[in-house]
């Protein structure tokens, strides 16, 4: 069995901040996130031989972390899943005024998204992955990622009551109506 190279270990260490950020985004819980990162590091170490040097280590690690997350969720019977309905009603988000949007509100809104949409918008909009890379990480088609990102974005805009930014169709009109009250 080939030994783990020093470079691999250094790269693993360097990936930890990104892994933790992705893990928190998925779990919405700091403790669970760090446990998930720990599992990911152990798994990555064990199967380091399956990583091909020169390819994207971050994407490889994100894939491991994501698989671990969903396999844990399955074991727990998806206790945390309920993004639609009930929780939406409970959350009081203040409408964004004149583009001012509080980060706390945003965090709350993000939490309301179904996991598949949340991970898609995080991978594309924050982690810096391409649609192709995100599709590989999530094990789905590029088109699926695109539609998840689009739905996530629309949903966030609805929850946060952001209007008038690059809307499609009827929303462009409602943005004008909203805007006219300020005029």
């Amino acid at each position: 069995m080939a030994a783990v190279s020093q470079g691999f270990k250094t790269d693993l260490l360097g990936s930890i901040p990104s892994l933790r950020a992705f893990a928190v985004s998925l779990t919405q819980n700091a403790d669970k996130a760090d446990d998930l990162v720990q599992e990911t590091l152990v798994k990555a170490w064990d199967k380091h031989e399956s990583f091909q040097p020169g390819t994207n280590l971050k994407a490889w690690l994100f894939t491991i972390l994501r698989n671990e997350f969903y396999s844990q969720m399955r074991k727990r019977g998806r206790e945390v899943q309920d993004s639609d309905g009930v929780m939406t009603a409970r959350l009081a988000v203040h409408p964004a005024q004149h583009g001012q949007l509080d980060l706390e509100d945003f965090r709350g809104a993000l939490e309301l998204l179904p996991e598949d949409q949340r991970e898609a918008i995080i991978l594309i909009g924050a982690s810096g992955f391409s649609y192709e890379e995100a599709a590989e990480i999530c094990g789905c088609a590029v088109g699926t990622i695109k539609s998840r990102v689009s739905r996530a974005r629309t949903r966030l805009q609805e929850i946060l009551k952001i209007s008038g930014e690059d809307e499609y169709g009827p929303d462009a009109i409602s943005a004008q109506v909203t805007g006219s009250t300020a005029a």
Partner: protein
């Protein structure tokens, strides 16, 4: 009023074109917040437990000296 409506319409038009290229880019409020949210998480201090964990793994399976 008429001028304002025109300006708004033009603005929306530009926004729509920009959005089709990068709907989560810097012109998007959602895009900006998303990055702010994530960057804050990335810049969080990494607990020692992770460096310790890697050292333990290394002891169990030493790294190559060369490379």
């Amino acid at each position: 009023m008429k001028n304002m409506t025109k300006a708004t319409t033009a603005g929306v038009g530009n926004g729509r074109r920009a959005a089709s290229r990068d709907p989560l880019g810097p012109n998007s409020e959602i895009g900006r917040k998303l990055k702010q949210y994530y960057d804050e998480l990335v810049s969080d201090n990494v607990p020692d437990r992770f460096a310790q964990l890697l050292s333990q793994l290394e002891k169990a399976e030493p790294v190559q000296k060369k490379d």
